[in-house]
C-alpha cells in the first residue's frame, strides 16, 4: 500500500474531504437539487453529527460520503482516495477495507443468525478466524447468549446491537451511521448510542452520523446542520450552547 498522505502526521491528514458537492435528480418534468455546494473536512478520530429534518438531504449526503452513490458535481476524498472518481467496484473494494455502516432499519440478513451476520464483513474482508472475532464482538455488545438467533427472534435494540457489532467487526477507519436510533424507543436508543460512542472511542474510529436526534448529536465532537440541501456548521460557541 502506498498512500502519499502516510508521510504526514496522522492528525494533519483529513479522513474525509468534501468540496463543493452538488447532487441533482432528474424527474419526469424537471430536475430536483437535493444537495447544493456542500464542503467539509473531517479529521481522523472525530465524531461528527449531521442534523436535519426529514427531506433535508442528509441521507443523500451520507450515501455520497460513503461512496454508495456518485455526486452530480464536486468531489469526495475518503482517506486519501477521491472516491467520486472511482468505479463502483473500486469503491466497493475501498468500503470493504475501511468503511463500516449502521443503518436506521438495521439491514441484517433475515436468514442469517446474529453470529453469521457479524461474520459477513470478516469473511468478505478475508480476516482470520472470523467466527471467534464475531463471537467476541457480540459478547462485547451484550449478546453473547443470542449468537444463534435470527433477526426475527431479536428485539429492535438487539438487532441494532448486532448491526453495531457488524459495523466494528472489520475495524473500519470510518463509520457511517444513518439515524442509528431512529427506529428505537428513547431508553433503548440511549443504550445503543452509548454503545456506539464507547466502541467508537475504543477503536479510534472516525464517526459520521446523520440524525434528527439532538441529544445524540450533542455527544459528537462536531455537528453540522443541513436544511434544503445546504450544509452549515454552527460556530463553536453555538455548538456548546446546543449541548447545554
Amino acid at each position: 500500500m502506498s498512500d502519499p498522505s502516510e508521510h504526514k502526521p496522522e492528525s494533519q491528514r483529513p479522513m474525509l474531504k468534501v468540496s463543493n458537492l452538488t447532487h441533482k435528480v432528474s424527474l419526469e418534468t424537471d430536475t430536483l437539487t437535493i444537495l447544493q455546494g456542500v464542503s467539509l473536512e473531517i479529521n481522523r478520530g472525530e465524531s461528527v453529527a449531521i442534523v436535519g429534518r426529514s427531506g433535508s438531504g442528509k441521507t443523500t449526503l451520507l450515501g455520497l460520503l460513503a461512496g454508495l452513490d456518485t455526486p452530480s458535481e464536486g468531489s469526495v476524498e475518503l482517506d486519501g482516495s477521491v472516491i467520486s472518481q472511482l468505479s463502483e467496484d473500486d469503491r466497493a473494494k475501498l468500503r470493504s477495507r475501511r468503511v463500516g455502516f449502521v443503518f436506521q432499519s438495521f439491514q441484517l440478513l433475515p436468514a442469517l443468525t446474529a453470529l453469521e451476520n457479524v461474520m459477513l464483513p470478516l469473511e468478505l474482508g478475508g480476516f482470520d478466524s472470523p467466527q471467534a472475532k464475531a463471537r467476541e464482538l457480540l459478547e462485547r455488545v451484550g449478546l453473547g447468549e443470542r449468537l444463534y438467533h435470527t433477526p426475527r427472534q431479536l428485539s429492535g435494540g438487539e438487532q441494532q446491537r448486532v448491526a453495531i457489532a457488524r459495523a466494528f467487526a472489520s475495524e473500519p477507519s470510518i463509520l457511517f451511521a444513518d439515524e442509528p436510533t431512529g427506529n428505537l424507543d428513547n431508553r433503548t436508543g440511549a443504550d445503543v448510542s452509548d454503545l456506539l460512542m464507547t466502541l467508537n472511542r475504543e477503536q479510534g474510529t472516525t464517526l459520521v452520523m446523520v440524525t434528527h436526534d439532538e441529544q445524540l448529536a450533542a455527544r459528537c465532537s462536531r455537528h453540522f446542520n443541513i436544511e434544503a440541501g445546504i450544509l452549515t456548521e454552527p460556530s463553536t460557541s453555538e455548538q456548546s450552547e446546543a449541548v447545554n
Binding site: G63, D89, S96, Q107, L112, L120
Partner: protein, 828 residues
C-alpha cells in the same frame, strides 16, 4: 473470488423461504421428469418384450429365396450373446392311411420358441398344455382339422415325403401364428431334423428359412448393423414394430408417454421458473447490503451463479432420491399386472432430460434477473429504490419461451408437439393480455365496501399485476394438465372403438360357395350371425402395364407380395375402415377395374390408370387400376390387397369365402360341432391375439393414469409455489385489514372469493387452450378425430376455483391465528 466462495453455504441458504421454494421446485422437477422418463422407458421395454412373443422372438430374419443363410451369420449372433433358433416353412402333401392333403409345414429346432409358448393337446378332449418347445424328432403336432380331413387319430403315422412321423399332439396355437391368411392350408409342426429325411426340399422348392433372435436391444441393434450390408433383397429382417397387428396401439402408447414426459418437462420448467424468479427479485436488499460491505458487481454475479449451481446439484440429487423409489414402485405394480419379471434399468437416456430440465430452467429463468442484480445500487440500503418495471421482464419471457421449447423439443424431437403446445400457450398469453385490459378497465369502477364480493373484486384489481401473472401460471399449468386428461380420454375411447369387447375373434376360411348359406345359418342359430362374407380368389400379380412384373419392378423394390399368391376379392361397397386415396371407388354396375392397397401400390410404383395382370390358376386377368385405398391391417377383419367390382374379372374364377365373427369364450365348444359339420372350413382362432392386445391396452391405460396422477400432483405443487410467492404481501395486508377492524369472516370470504375468481378465470383459459393444443395434437400425433370435450369445459375451471380458494384460505391461516400486532411485527 474468495469473497463469493465464502458466502456459499447450503445451510445458510436453506433458512431463506424463497430458497426452499426453489429447491422444492427443483426436486419436484427432477423427480417428475425422471420418474416419467424412467417409467416410460421401462414400459416400452416391457411392452416390446410382451409383444415379442408374436414373433416367437425379438427379431426374425426371413430368407424367402429358398436358401438357408450362411452359417457364419448365426455364429456371429451367438458370439454377440444373442439367443437364436431356426425354422423352415414349406408347403407339401402329406399322406394318411387313405387320404392325402396339402399342408403348410413349420419345422422347428429345439430352441424354438425364444419368446412366448406353444399350446397343444394330446387329444380333442384332452387338456391344453403350454410348453416352450416344438415336437421332438420323429413326432408331429398337427392342426385338428387335418386330423379330421385325413381321418387319423393321435398315435397314428403321418407320411411327409419319404419320412413317416407319429402324430403325438394337436396344435392349438403357436406363438408366432398371429394372423396370417397367406397360408390357409392346415398346419403341421415337426422337428427340423426330420426335414432332410422327407426329401421334399429340393433345389428350387418354395421354402422359407426363418431365423429367430432374442437378447438385449442394443446387442440386437448392433448385430443388425453388422448384418445389414450382407442382406439380399429376398432377406427380410422383422421386429415387433413392423408387425401389423398392434404396432399402432404400441406407437400411440409411446406417443402418449412422450407427451406426458414433455408436459412434465414444461410443468417442471414453469415451477422452477416461478420459484427462481421470485427468489431473484427478493434478493435486491441483500445485494445492496453486500455491496455496501464491499462486494463488487462481479463478485455478486459470481456468488449467485455459484449458488444456482449448488442448488442445481442439491435439487437434482434430491429429485433423484424421490424419483427412484417412485419408479421402482410403479414398475413393480406394472410387473404384477403383466405377471412379468421387471428388469429395473436406470436408463441414462431417461435421466438426462430430467437433469437438463432442472439445470436449464434454473439458469434460463433465474439468471436474467440475477444478472440484473449486479446493477442494484448500493444506495438501496439507505433508501428504497423502485423495483423492476415490467419492461425488463419481456426479454426474460423470450429467453424462457426459447428455453422451455428447446427442452420439450430436445425431449420429444417432435416439432408438431412443440408447435401444438406453443400455439396453446400463445393463445393463452394473448387472451390474458386482453383479460388484463378488461380487468383494469372494469374492476376500476368498483369501489370497496363491507361486502365480500366487492372486496374480492377490489382485491383482484389492486393486485392486478400479481393476479395476472398468477392467472398466467395457473392457466398454463391447467392447460398442460387438461391437455393430458383430454388426450388420455380420447386415446382410450379410440382404443376401445378399435377393439371393442365384441371385436371379431375368429375367422372362417375356405368356405365353399355351396356351403356359404349353411355356414351362415349354423352361426345364426347360435346367436352369432356372420356380418360380412368376402369371396376370395388366390392369384399372383404377374404383369404391370403388359410387362412381367419382376422386370418392371427393380430388384430392390421386390416385395413379398410378388413372391406369393395374393388373396383377391370382389366387393361392392368400400369397407368402412378403408379409405380411397386416389381415383374413384367402383360405381354401381361397374364391372371393370381393380382397387389396390396403397402401401403395395407405393412399393410397386403403381398409380391409377396402370394395368395389372393376374395369373389365377391357368387363367389370366388384366384390369386397370381405378382406385388406390388404405387398409387398416390391425382391424382384425378380412383385408385385401386387391379388390375387384362384382361381376368383374374375378366373377368366373374358383372362389372360396372368408368371414370374421365374434365368438364368446363360453361358446368355444361350438367350434367342435362346426368342424364336424364343415370339415373343410378352416377356423382361425385369433381370440388370444385380441386378448393380448386388450391386455396391453389395459396396462398402458394404467400407466397413463399413473403418469396423469403424477403430473396433476406436480401441477398442484406449482400452483402452491405461485400462491406462496405473494403470501407475505397478502398476509401483511390481511393483518392490516384486521388491525383496521375487518372481521375475520369477511377476510376469509373475500380472500377465498378472490382466489376462486383467479382459479376460475385460469381454468377457463387453460381448458380452452388445452382444447386447441389437443386439436393440433390429435391431427399430428394420434391421427384421431377431434371433437370438443364439453364435459371438461366446466368441471376443470370449477375444480381449479375450489383448489385455489382453499390455497387462499391456507395462506390466511397465520393471519387469523395470531394477533395482528404480532403478525405485523413478524412480517417487518
Amino acid at each position: 473470488m474468495a469473497a463469493s466462495k465464502k458466502l456459499m453455504s447450503v445451510k445458510r441458504d436453506w433458512r431463506e423461504r424463497d430458497v426452499r421454494v426453489v429447491l422444492s421446485a427443483l426436486v419436484i422437477a427432477v423427480a417428475t421428469v425422471a420418474t416419467i422418463a424412467l417409467f416410460a422407458s421401462q414400459l416400452q421395454r416391457t411392452l416390446v418384450s410382451s409383444a415379442s412373443s408374436f414373433l416367437a422372438a425379438d427379431r426374425q430374419l426371413e430368407a424367402e429365396n429358398g436358401r438357408p443363410v450362411p452359417q457364419a451369420w448365426m455364429q456371429e449372433a451367438e458370439q454377440r450373446g444373442l439367443e437364436t433358433a431356426r425354422m423352415v416353412e414349406f408347403s407339401t402333401m402329406v399322406y394318411g392311411a387313405d387320404n392325402f392333403q396339402l399342408v403348410s409345414v413349420k419345422a422347428v429346432n429345439n430352441e424354438y420358441p425364444l419368446r412366448g409358448q406353444v399350446e397343444y393337446q394330446v387329444g380333442a378332449d384332452a387338456a391344453r398344455q403350454t410348453v416352450s418347445h416344438g415336437p421332438p424328432p420323429g413326432e408331429v403336432w398337427i392342426n385338428p382339422r387335418l386330423l379330421r380331413l385325413l381321418e387319423l387319430g393321435i398315435g397314428d403315422s403321418l407320411e411327409v415325403g419319404n419320412h413317416e412321423l407319429t402324430i403325438s399332439g394337436l396344435l392349438v396355437r403357436e406363438p408366432d401364428g398371429g394372423f396370417n391368411m397367406s397360408s390357409l392350408a392346415p398346419r403341421v409342426m415337426m422337428h427340423v431334423d426330420d426335414v432332410e429325411p422327407t426329401g421334399v426340399i429340393k433345389e428350387g422348392s418354395r421354402v422359407e428359412y426363418v431365423y429367430l433372435f432374442a437378447g438385449e436391444e442394443s446387442a440386437l441393434n448392433d448385430y443388425y448393423s453388422w448384418l445389414q450390408p450382407q442382406l439380399e433383397p429376398s432377406h427380410e429382417w422383422e421386429g415387433v414394430r413392423d408387425g401389423e397387428t398392434f404396432s399402432r396401439s404400441l406407437e400411440r402408447a409411446e406417443r402418449f408417454l412422450l407427451l406426458g414426459g414433455s408436459l412434465a418437462v414444461m410443468l417442471a420448467a414453469v415451477a422452477v421458473a416461478v420459484a427462481s424468479r421470485q427468489y431473484a427479485l427478493s434478493q435486491r436488499d441483500t445485494v445492496a447490503l453486500l455491496k455496501t460491505l464491499g462486494v463488487s458487481s462481479k463478485g455478486i454475479g459470481r456468488l449467485y451463479i455459484r449458488r444456482l449451481a449448488l442448488w442445481g446439484i442439491v435439487g437434482a440429487i434430491g429429485g433423484l432420491l424421490v424419483a427412484l423409489p417412485l419408479y421402482w414402485l410403479m414398475s413393480s405394480v406394472l410387473g404384477d399386472v403383466l405377471e412379468q419379471q421387471i428388469d429395473y434399468q436406470l436408463d441414462p437416456n431417461a435421466l438426462a432430460p430430467a437433469l437438463l430440465t432442472a439445470l436449464v430452467s434454473l439458469f434460463a429463468f433465474a439468471y436474467p434477473p440475477i444478472r440484473r442484480l449486479r446493477n442494484v445500487p448500493a444506495m438501496r440500503v439507505l433508501r428504497s429504490q423502485p423495483g423492476e418495471s415490467g419492461r425488463e421482464a419481456v426479454p426474460d419471457l423470450i429467453i424462457a419461451a426459447v428455453a422451455i421449447f428447446g427442452l420439450v423439443w430436445m425431449y420429444a424431437r417432435e416439432i408438431s408437439l412443440v408447435l401444438s403446445l406453443l400455439g396453446g400457450l400463445a393463445f393463452l398469453l394473448g387472451t390474458l393480455g386482453l383479460l388484463g385490459w378488461l380487468l383494469v378497465s372494469t374492476l376500476r369502477k368498483i369501489s370497496g365496501g363491507g361486502n365480500a364480493w366487492r372486496l374480492a373484486l377490489v382485491g383482484l384489481y389492486r393486485h392486478r399485476r400479481a393476479s395476472l401473472s398468477q392467472i398466467a401460471v395457473f392457466a398454463m399449468t391447467l392447460m398442460l394438465a387438461a391437455t393430458l386428461i383430454l388426450v388420455r380420454t380420447s386415446l382410450l375411447d379410440d382404443w376401445q372403438a378399435q377393439l371393442p369387447e365384441d371385436a371379431p375373434n375368429h375367422f372362417l376360411i375356405n368356405i365353399s360357395p355351396q356351403a356359404v348359406d349353411e355356414v351362415d345359418e349354423f352361426w345364426s342359430e347360435r346367436g352369432h350371425p356372420l356380418e360380412q362374407l368376402y369371396p376370395m380368389v388366390r392369384g399372383r400379380l404377374t404383369e404391370l402395364n403388359g410387362q412381367p412384373v419382376k422386370e418392371a419392378v427393380t430388384k430392390e423394390e421386390r416385395v413379398g407380395a410378388l413372391n406369393r399368391e395374393l388373396n383377391l376379392t370382389w366387393m361392392e361397397e368400400l369397407p368402412e375402415d378403408n379409405e380411397v386415396v386416389a381415383g374413384e371407388w367402383f360405381e354401381e354396375g361397374q364391372t371393370d377395374g381393380v382397387s389396390i392397397e396403397a402401401e403395395l401400390a407405393g412399393k410397386l410404383g403403381v398409380s391409377v390408370g396402370d394395368e395389372l395382370g393376374f395369373t389365377i390358376g391357368s387363367d389370366k386377368v388384366t384390369e386397370t387400376v381405378t382406385s388406390i385405398r388404405t387398409v387398416q391391417w390391425d382391424s382384425m377383419k378380412p383385408n385385401f390387397y386387391m379388390a375387384f367390382p362384382p361381376g368383374g374379372g374375378l366373377e368366373d374364377m374358383p372362389a372360396t369365402w372368408i368371414t370374421a365373427f365374434f365368438l364368446p369364450a363360453d361358446m368355444k365348444g361350438e367350434l367342435n360341432d362346426f368342424s364336424r359339420r364343415f370339415p373343410t372350413v378352416s377356423v382361425l382362432e385369433i381370440d388370444h391375439v385380441i386378448e393380448r392386445i386388450q391386455a396391453i391396452v389395459r396396462q398402458v391405460t394404467q400407466a397413463i393414469e399413473a403418469i396423469l396422477a403424477l403430473i396433476l400432483a406436480a401441477a398442484l405443487v406449482v400452483m402452491a409455489a405461485v400462491v406462496s410467492a405473494t403470501m407475505q404481501d397478502r398476509q401483511r395486508e390481511g393483518a392490516l385489514l384486521r388491525t383496521l377492524g375487518g372481521r375475520q369472516s369477511l377476510l376469509v370470504r373475500s380472500t377465498m372469493l378472490e382466489f376462486a375468481l383467479l382459479g376460475f378465470f385460469a381454468g377457463i383459459l387453460g381448458v380452452v387452450a388445452a382444447e386447441g393444443a389437443v386439436w393440433a395434437l390429435q391431427f399430428r400425433m394420434f391421427e384421431g378425430e377431434f371433437r370438443w370435450h364439453w364435459q371438461a369445459v366446466l368441471p376443470i375451471p370449477l375444480l381449479s376455483a375450489l383448489v385455489l380458494a382453499l390455497f387462499g384460505r391456507w395462506q390466511l391461516k397465520p393471519v387469523l391465528s395470531v394477533s395482528p400486532m404480532l403478525l405485523l411485527r413478524r412480517l417487518e
